[in-house]
């Protein structure tokens, strides 16, 4: 048993690095003087780097289900981990100057690591309990990160609203998980798959629906999407960038695994996900239409992006493109979002749409990065967002949901309108005076994220090749 345990621990090495690194960082934070607190960012980066390298190294390992059927150490998980790691590193880079004045900045990085760990665990969870706990870990740290500006009225408000929403969703999910446990006699996805085949459809559907609400909350999908704009606007900008993305990576992957478990005949999960996707992207786009707060607009656009991402789930099992499209979406969306928020951070949190008027003349590179990320969201080639959208739409068309692809098209066009409400004045307005900027770390983050957005589209072959043959292990 101990030997098994040891092997299992090796299987999830990146997780251990995260957890161990975070705990070590706690000690650092607890004992060094205030002047050295800022270096905890470096510590977090080191942890992330090691975890990232470990994940990259593990890509060569054979995928396996580990910890007795509770965790899937497969390549999809590793890729999800890598995306989360990169997002977190960028977040750390954005956070250093943003949080420099905060006397508790050290704990911030610890929580960031824990939050990332939650998302990583989520991406690999193949057990209802693991799913619940991973989501909880990701969420509770998320609430804290959101409210981290304790003096800020917006941040604390966003934090508690985020919490209230999450708690209700979580309550429903736990009850649903209990029902599924009763139906199958187990909590691991393997048990569910075998146990649910002939299960009572009523209980199954209710249980599934309740669990789905929990995952929808993490994804920011209707009907539990309301936290996204609030967090985007209220939370500290680097944290907002992180929170919009990281949880979504884990949640989308776990939703894939969960959906794969369900018996198609008894539960109309595919149409449900399609409906949620349709509503989510439409509502997100419509609500973003007239936003004058750029961060809030990005929050709503994130809602709509969630809707696009769900297309991959709709196509699960019906199209080879489902998993590659999901990963392309996650990577492109993550990088695009990081780029956009990095620009905002670089502009010291500038968020009023009017303040962007004429900025292209004085900050051409920053606005260029913003435009690249926006165009990627819209799906303009050859940026990452295009490849993602291409594959997503291909996948749903192949899955027989052409109407969903058409709706995605209409939504993309609508989304152009609100992005243009920022881009247009920035480029077509008279030159503004230069704005005060954050330091060079933020600039690096802008650069890296923007280059990544472009690279995902332009040199997509390594990714496509790696993701093409991926299978989701569910035990």
């Amino acid at each position: 048993m101990t030997a098994q345990m040891g092997r299992a621990a090796v299987d999830v090495l990146p997780v251990l690095i995260f957890a161990g690194g975070a705990i070590m960082l706690i000690f650092y934070v607890m004992f060094v003087p205030r002047a050295l607190q800022v270096w905890s960012a470096l510590g977090a980066t080191v942890v992330l780097a090691v975890a990232g390298f470990a994940s990259g190294w593990y890509l060569g390992r054979a995928p396996t289900i580990t910890f007795f059927g509770t965790f899937a150490a497969d390549r999809t998980w590793l890729w999800g981990t890598l995306i989360i790691v990169i997002v977190t590193v960028l977040t750390v880079a954005l956070s250093v100057e943003w949080f420099r004045s905060d006397s508790r900045q050290g704990e911030y990085y610890v929580l960031l690591l824990f939050s990332a760990l939650g998302a990583v665990l989520l991406a690999g969870a193949v057990d209802l309990m693991e799913l619940i706990l991973a989501m909880l870990l990701s969420s509770v740290t998320g609430y804290t990160l959101t409210a981290y500006h304790r003096k800020s009225r917006a941040a604390t408000e966003a934090g508690i609203k985020y919490y209230l929403l999450g708690a209700l969703a979580n309550g429903a999910m736990v009850y649903g998980a209990a029902l599924l446990f009763g139906l199958s006699g187990g909590t691991s996805f393997a048990d569910l798959r075998s146990g649910l085949v002939n299960a009572d459809p009523t209980a199954l559907i209710v249980g599934f629906g309740m669990v789905a609400i929990g995952i929808a909350f993490k994804l920011g999908a209707i009907p539990a999407h309301q936290w996204m704009p609030d967090v985007a606007q209220g939370a500290p900008a680097p944290a907002a960038a992180f929170l919009l993305v990281a949880g979504k990576v884990g949640a989308l992957i776990v939703l894939m695994r969960f959906a794969a478990v369900l018996p198609d005949a008894a539960v109309g999960w595919r149409p449900l996900v399609a409906v949620i996707a349709a509503l989510t992207m439409t509502l997100g786009n419509l609500a973003a239409l007239w936003q004058d707060d750029v961060r809030r607009m990005l929050g709503w656009s994130s809602v709509s992006q969630t809707g696009y991402g769900l297309l991959a789930v709709v196509a699960l099992g019906r199209s080879d493109l489902a998993i590659p499209s999901m990963l392309f979406f996650l990577a492109a969306y993550a990088m695009g979002n990081m780029a956009a928020f990095a620009v905002i951070v670089k502009l010291r949190g500038l968020t009023d749409r009017e303040s962007y008027r004429g900025l292209a003349s004085v900050h051409p590179w920053l606005m260029g990065a913003l435009v690249v990320s926006f165009l990627s969201f819209i799906g303009v080639p050859p940026l990452g967002g295009f490849t993602a959208k291409l594959l997503l739409m291909g996948a749903v068309i192949e899955a027989g949901y052409t109407w969903l692809a058409a709706l995605a098209v209409v939504n993309s066009v609508i989304s152009l309108f609100y992005y243009a409400r920022v881009m247009g004045p920035a480029y077509f307005g008279p030159a503004a005076r230069p704005r005060p900027l954050m330091g060079s770390l933020a600039a690096w983050a802008v650069g890296v994220a923007t280059v990544a957005v472009v690279a995902i589209g332009v040199i997509g072959q390594p990714l496509a090749a790696a993701w093409q043959e991926l299978v989701l292990l569910i035990g």
């Binding site: 209230l164 009907p223 239409l289």
Partner: protein, 637 residues
């Protein structure tokens, strides 16, 4: 080689343009270019050459000088040369004269291309270029706002006819895969009928037949040489020419002959009366042009192309003479009002020359024009007694208006005030034209028939004695009528009520009919479509708009009454539904026209309102969402 008749004037035009700083040289060059063209044309006509210019894709421009083309190819530059002599002599101070000379030269090139064309594509090229050049020529005095408008009218009218050639060319190509005249016969009857229809349309438009005749009036806006050239051997001649050229094949279409004869007869009669009723010398001549071409169409329809060709040649000579003389009259009197001219005493030499032209126009033997007219008459009688009688009446009309024009234009009268006397070059040109008209009298000699048949490569019908008697009698009658009217002083008004006269003189109301029936509706349609384009089509996407509108309204109602409303049972829902449908009905059509964009925009505003900021609203939405999710998962596979 075969291209020389085209290239010579083309290059000539370039040379003239290059010489624009030396006016005299330019004028000389223009005449020389025409003379050279005549020589080239004669050479080509003698050799009966053919040639091709490849476009690729199965399209070649083929040219050849055969049949009546041999005559036309010479006749065109010949008359153009004389007109240019006249033009070059005229108005030495006018700097714009060089432009006029250049365009005239190029105009001849286009016409020559039309004449030597051996396929429909080449024909169309020449045909359209002639039309375009006529636009420049008519609008020569472009600073006067009216003249460009007239030029436009002329061009657009003839271009409408050009569509006929497009159709004919397309039909030939569809039928045979080739555009050559020679392949036309291979076309199936159906296609051939379309070809014939197209060509008749084009010819009627170019040759100013009813109902296209009025464009000739617009063409009067051009300077005198232009009118002289347009109305004689070029432009107008193109219509009759192409029918003469293709008559053998086209006549296989059974309606071709009656239609062509019909158009010709109507135009000959109507145009004759227009010429008779007109108060303006040039416009009267223009009316007579339509009428004369009507005669040619009768002959073509009847199958006697040689008669038509002869008539064309004779007409070309005397009509250019008449127009140039009219130009002299305009120059001298500053007006063309027939009641104010009577230049016979003031310009006796010109009067004589004009008289020769008038006699030819009146078909008075022994001029060549009389011979050809009688050949036409013979042909007309051949195709039917009523056609023959109608043609005879048309002939009578021509004699009367010819006499009237001569008496009123160059008849005896007070010398009065003369603004300018004709220059030497002008008189020379007139003289040569008159001489040529006279020379055409050789057709009366034995063998005249044969010459015509050879020249036109077509048939001619020998005139019967009865026809000659009738014809001559009518000529005599016509002269008598003119004499009587002159004596009574009614030659100007003809004793007609002025409104009737003006109606006829204004081409039987055709221009205003065209304006009311075609021009105005089309431009109003354009205006209407434009308004529609801005107001409706720009929002056409809004077939969907009703939907967007409705959705936004639903959202609005939902949010206005808070989310409670939905949850609160079916009763409230029913009321909501009724409310929504009432609203939809109230705004029904309005709503549909509202822009999709604004619909989406409103929907956007409403969507934001779901984010109330109240977390308990979110809770409610989530619970509703849960119920809906369960329902979807349960009932939708």
């Amino acid at each position: 080689m075969v291209w020389l008749p085209v290239l010579t004037p083309l290059i000539g035009g370039v040379v003239i343009a290059a010489l624009r700083r030396q006016q005299t040289a330019a004028r000389m060059a223009s005449v020389l270019a025409m003379v050279a063209t005549v020589v080239a044309a004669a050479t080509v006509a003698a050799s009966q050459a053919a040639g091709e210019w490849t476009w690729g894709g199965g399209l070649d421009l083929a040219v050849s000088v055969t049949g009546f083309g041999r005559i036309m190819v010479i006749l065109v530059p010949l008359i153009a040369a004389l007109v240019l002599i006249f033009a070059a002599a005229n108005s030495e101070e006018d700097r714009a004269i060089v432009k006029l000379l250049v365009v005239l030269t190029w105009f001849v090139a286009a016409m020559e291309l039309l004449v030597i064309a051996a396929d429909f594509l080449t024909l169309l090229i020449g045909w359209e270029l002639v039309g375009a050049a006529s636009w420049v020529l008519i609008g020569h005095e472009w600073r006067d706002p009216d003249r460009p408008r007239s030029a436009r009218e002329a061009f657009v009218t003839t271009r409408f006819g050009d569509l006929g050639i497009y159709v004919a060319a397309g039909a030939v190509f569809a039928a045979t895969g080739s555009l050559q005249y020679t392949d036309l016969a291979a076309a199936s009857p159906g296609w051939l009928a379309i070809v014939a229809g197209g060509l008749v349309l084009a010819a009627a438009a170019k040759s100013a037949q009813v109902p296209f005749s009025p464009w000739l009036f617009s063409a009067m806006a051009g300077p005198t040489p232009v009118s002289a050239l347009l109305h004689s051997a070029t432009m107008v001649a193109a219509g009759a020419y192409i029918l003469i050229r293709l008559q053998p094949t086209l006549s296989m279409v059974n309606w071709f002959a009656p239609v062509v004869v019909g158009i010709g007869l109507i135009t000959a009669l109507a145009g004759g009366m227009v010429a008779l009723a007109q108060q303006d010398l040039k416009k009267a001549l223009a009316g007579s042009t339509s009428a004369q071409y009507g005669l040619m169409l009768i002959a073509v329809g009847a199958g006697f192309t040689a008669a038509a060709a002869g008539q064309l040649t004779a007409h070309a000579l005397f009509k250019s003479l008449l127009f140039l003389a009219a130009g002299v009259a305009l120059h001298a009197r500053g007006t063309l009002d027939l009641s104010k001219l009577r230049l016979g005493s003031a310009l006796p030499r010109i009067a004589v020359l004009f008289g020769i032209g008038a006699l030819a126009l009146g078909a008075v033997p022994p001029l060549g024009a009389a011979f050809t007219k009688e050949a036409v008459l013979a042909g007309a009688f051949h195709s039917g007694i009523w056609v023959g009688l109608g043609t005879a009446v048309a002939g009578l009309l021509s004699t009367v208006y010819a006499g009237r024009l001569h008496m009123l234009g160059y008849g005896p009268g007070p010398i009065g005030e003369i603004h300018g006397s004709p220059r030497r070059g002008e008189v020379t040109a007139l003289g040569i034209l008159a001489a040529l008209s006279l020379a055409l009298g050789i057709l009366w000699l034995p063998g005249g028939d044969a010459i015509l048949e050879w020249a036109a490569d077509g048939a001619i019908l020998a005139t019967t004695r009865a026809e000659i008697v009738l014809s001559w009698a009518l000529v005599a009658l016509g002269i008598a009528v003119v004499a009587v009217a002159w004596r009574r002083g009614r030659l100007v008004t003809l004793g007609l009520p002025s409104r009737t006269r003006e109606f006829i003189a204004g081409w039987w109301g055709l221009p205003s009919a065209a304006r009311v029936l075609i021009v105005d509706p089309v431009s109003r349609l354009g205006q209407g479509l434009f308004v529609a384009d801005r107001k409706v089509v720009a929002r056409l996407a809004d077939a969907v708009a009703g939907f967007g509108e409705l959705m936004s309204r639903i959202l609005k109602r939902v949010v206005d009454r808070s989310i409670d409303a939905i949850v609160w049972g079916i009763g409230a829902g029913t009321i909501q539904g009724a409310e929504i449908s009432r609203l939809a009905d109230d705004r029904g059509v309005d709503g549909a026209v509202e822009g999709l964009a604004s619909g989406i925009g409103v929907a956007g505003t409403q969507s934001r309102r779901t984010q109330t900021g109240m977390s308990y609203h979110y809770y409610t939405m989530m619970m509703i969402g849960l119920v809906v999710a369960i329902a979807v998962a349960a009932f939708w596979r």
